[in-house]
Amino acid sequence: MSETPFKFRSQQWEIINYSRGMMGVSAVPGSGKTFTLSHLAAQLVQRITERNFKNEREVLIVTFTNSAVNSFKARIAKILKEERGLLPYTGYRVRTLHGLAHDIVRERPGLVGLSEDFNIVDERTSQRIQSEAISAQWPRWAEKMKWYFDSELNDQQQQNVLRRDLPQALEMMIPQFISRCKANRITPAQLLKWVKNTDEDWILIRFAAAVYDDYQRSLMYRGAVDFDDLVHFAILALESEEKYLERLRQKWPYILEDEAQDSSRLQEEMLNLLANGRNWVRVGDTNQAINTTFTTADPSFLRRFLAREDVIERQLTTSGRSAPKIIHLANELLRWTIHEHPVQYLREQTFYEIYIQPTEPGDAQQNPDDALANIYIQPTDSAYTPEEEIDQVVSSLVRWYKDERNRVKTVAVLVPENSRGYQVAERLRSLDIEFEELLRSTSDTRQTAKILMLVLDYLTDPRRGRKLANLYRYVWLDWITRHEIEDDDEHPSMRLMRIVQRHQQLETLLWPVVGSWQDELRIDDMDVFWIEDFERFLVMVKRWLEATILPIDQLILTIGGDIFREPTDIALTYKIAAVLKGIGRDNPSYRLVQFTEELRRISNNERRFLGFDDSQEGYEPTPGKVTISTMHAAKGLEWDRVYLMSVNNYSFPSALNNETYIGERWFLRDQLNLEAEIIAQLEAAQSGTFKQYKLGDASQQSRVEVAAERLRLLYVGITRARSELIITWNMGRYWDKGGQHVKQAALPLYHLCEVVDNVR
């Protein structure tokens, strides 16, 4: 191995020089994982360059999110071009698990019984089909479900639960259940057979099996698959055709897997098949595994891999991201959990004992100075109500925001759930503090869909002045012409907008029979520029109205072609047109009104689809603006100052007796967690160990698993901060009811407060 160039640390250089075999890399937060992996990929691309187009080989990189795909792709291209003098974008393939599965299935769909034009239903459609299946099955099962009820419920409560609460709970549970069936590669027919003659405590799974059967049949009629099928089918294709598998093994001689701690059972299975014991590099941080609850993702896959004898283990332990103080705090959370947590399971199963090391002097990326760093943790004996917590955080943010020196710095408020983030966002909005939300993604897809929705919203109701005025303002002025207009009521454009808003007979503007629209509006005194500008707007609207007789995809392309100039927006318009066309095919009775509603769903992030989901290369915080994000969405990002909110024992439980858990519903007996129970039933049915299943055990087990994941989430939250970290907590929504409704600080905070005090 040559001498380490300046820009790499020796640990990184060692990895970049990998040449073959199985390698596992444990990377701590901020240790330059993406950077290292990109350089490794570029090195391998150069190694495998082929001269015969039929034997084209690629380095396969599998990562977790679409934005990571884009980011990897661009980084590797840059290295290939600038540092290695090779053609960018060839010789490698970066995919999410679903993207890779799609590639595999798409190349040989017939192997798994699909046509080449198979349809992938998005989450929204999938949920709708499941919902229909639940409604169809529900009447047959409703009464039997009472078996799970808390015996304290009176008749009225029972009826309410049957009518409302339980169906709602099932709608949340069924997608996870079906997903798990597919992850375990169980078909509806197998499942129905297994559970056919089970006792009454198996009612839940019998119901779910019937729904699964209906759902799958419904997909079949559509010639469609859902996201989970895609993965399952990819493995099936590889297993059913040995020579296809062999060809792909030749094509992808190297597999690099990023975020391997989030690897699911199927992902591991698929990559294992492809790697075939040859060249597989798995990189991850099991301490940041935060996607495990009710999924088959499990950090133990990576841990077991690292422990294998044929695997070379490497570590990336040096991180220049945070100030040493913050690194110390994160390390302490880890050490305390492993050695001092009161629950044995959590001591053993939460973290892997690997500590973050600050950088050595002379490192290319130095840690922020400890002298300027700061940590504040709300004392464990000083409780806030949820409102008070927001007050405290927001007033601190206001001070930060008003300080000119902070214009170049970044700040984030990280919350455990979206709903809490919305409350913070609302408060900041009322105080005119600029912020960006990572709660509902504000990606291009959403924006493009929103603009198209505004247009369709008018076209569905073409006589409504208010809607035409909205179109003029938000699409024409803000988006198409981008005139910079002061917020002035007397401005000609605002005047035009008001006139249109009140106008009762829009046909006289758009298609005047006599005279012209100007006569109609009496705007002789207006600047001719604005009159001509409005004329152009009307011409465009007429064109769109005339296009409403076209099929939906062609209408969308027509509108998009007039509005968008940016390649990303135009590409998204194409994608949206294709998605809507597919929806229209499934629902022949859909008209513009329903398509407008679908666009609303896309713009609200309720409907997501494969490909383009997030065409950005990932989020970059803007200095001077506040980012509001969930802790989950913040993974991989960093800010100068970070607020972690709601760190109480409800959001971050520790598997102790006085805690309540999300997912344990009030109307069920014995604190049952239906999601956990049904998955335990499924596992028992699959392994044929019906007798070993005991109602309630899975609910208890899920508590410790949730607690472990939440501890890791806290670790992720802490390691987002570069220089300043503020941790607060509150007494929970129902604090005024007293007793166990009053939440405490999360258990680890008791220790972390001491750590901070000692440092001081």
Binding site: N52, E56, R108, S240, L610
Partner: protein, 681 residues
Amino acid sequence: MKKFIQGPYGTGKTTLALQYLQDYFADGNLAHQLLILVPQRTLGRVYQQVLSQLQYPNTASVEVITFSGLAQRAIERFWPLLHEQVGFATGKPPIFLTIETAQYHIAQFVDDVVVTGRFDSVSVARARLIAQSLDNLAKAAINRFSLEEVAERLSSAWGGHSSRLEVYDAWLSVAERFRQYCLQHNLLDFSLQIEVFTQYAMAHPLVQETLRQRYRHLIAENLEENSPVVFDFLQWMLPELDSALLLFDQGAGFRLFLGAEPNLAYQLQEACDEVITLSESYVQSPPLRALEQAVIAAFDGVTPEELIANPTDAFVYELHAFYPQMLEWAVDEILRLVQSGVAPSEIVVIAPFLNDALRFAVMSRLEDAGVPIASHRPSRAIREEPSARAMLTLMQLVNPYEAVLPPPEDVANALTVLLPDLDPVRASLLTELVYGIGRKELGSFDDIQPIMQARITYTVGERYELLRQWLLEQREYVSQTPPDHFLRRLFGDMVAQPGFALQTDFDAATAISQMVESAFEFRRSLYPEGTTDWAVVWQEYRELVTEGLLAATYVPSWQKELANTVFIAPAYTYLMRNRPATYQFWLDVGSPAWGERLEQPLTNPYVVRREYPIGELWTDEHEMASNYAALRKLVLGLIRRCRQRIYLGVADLGEQGFEQRGPLLYLFQQILNLNTEVKES
């Protein structure tokens, strides 16, 4: 004299055939004794044009026909001799099914099997199950396989999960039940037409005698695109003919998925007196010929021998991040060419698949810029044409049997399409007033407030009233009127009359007449004896159109192609047009679809072939080898049809947002690398 003329595209084979045609008449031969056999009708056009220009009598009685056309004609003529022998239930006239009506009839048997769960291991939309079921039947017929043999071939070639075997078996029961049903009702789908002709008609001495007496001379164009039964027929015919000209395009055989068997075609040279080989291209420029050489070498995995020119001069390419950027680039380049004086007809735009959105986007931009462009079909199926949809809406409105009324949006759209001067805003107002909540039929214009009448305008009101009155009158006769009659009358008596919007709309008229045709075929094959209540049939027809089972095809627009237009088509369609171009635009070069076969889980075009050994497993190696062979044919076919330059449009992300890394992209990359290496050395 029987001649077998072979050579790649562009070497003058068809020119020789046209010369033969001239000589044929000059020698005083009889027109009706000449048979010109073409694999598909479009390939006969060049002969029809030449024939129409020749100054000899009766040139119109030369038969330019496809093999299935020949079969249909023979069956009609000899039906009394054949029907009983084949097993048809009655001697009533045969009913030939179109693809649409065949799909309709087989659908019931497919549905019966779907509910039993026997198709559960494939996830294929219903329409595809139907189409693939028919496809297997057709393959059986063109290869002269029994239905059992098709199922056996598919099963024994399948090496994947055993659940698929049940699917093939299920297909067999669908096919057998459909076949029985056809026999009972005198229906002949494509497969039965071929079977009756090849197995019964051709075996009958009278038919044999008639054919031999009638046809003494033959031209067979694009021989390689024909299926095995055609070669059987030619083997039988050739020895008896006075003269024959068989034209064989080396390197072609593009219609493999439709049963083309170039290897079998090639063997026919043994039945000829002379074999003529042509090799010099009259089409390609030297760089294109060099490109051809380089492509062949790349496929053969060898370094090309001395190239006659630089192959990279034959093409230009541009990489784009997104798909629409690539389209934009192609359109801009086409405009540039046209502005520099290139005739639009010298330009073709090709993609592996042409979906409606792509066609619409490219065509509308070129049309906006004033460049005429034609496609092998328009971007909308008949049922999606606004004029056809308007007709369907009125059909639903008039029929008292319909339980559900059309939504107001549909009525407003129909009125906008049919009434001139009615804009969408007024149409929405008019619809609300005459077809608002609680109404079950269109109200009168006279009953609405004068102020509203004025807003809508009286001219529109007057025409609306005419249409409404006419529709009201029709309500009484729905039960007695077949749907095609109603559609024809609505068009002829009403909306194509002066004062209505479709009077001068040629495209709309074509779409509607196609729809009438589809309704007619539907009635003819389903209700040949009529029915007591047509209202039910109206609804049935309308629903089938909405589901996409009927009127899902496209208005033929081949007449337009002849004009001076840019032509846009899927790659294979373009190849089968036999039309060279000076500039070719290949869109979506990164798509893996170039050369890839359509995946059809119920069938496999390679396995259901005579030359595929029964019992041999179909593996990924076969798949890849056949894909590369198809890609090779396709690419060379295109290059040989190009005179000057190929424009390669590459988008990193395809239309659906997926990264594109198909083999064609890598092929060109290799050719570019080759060039770099040559330069460097």
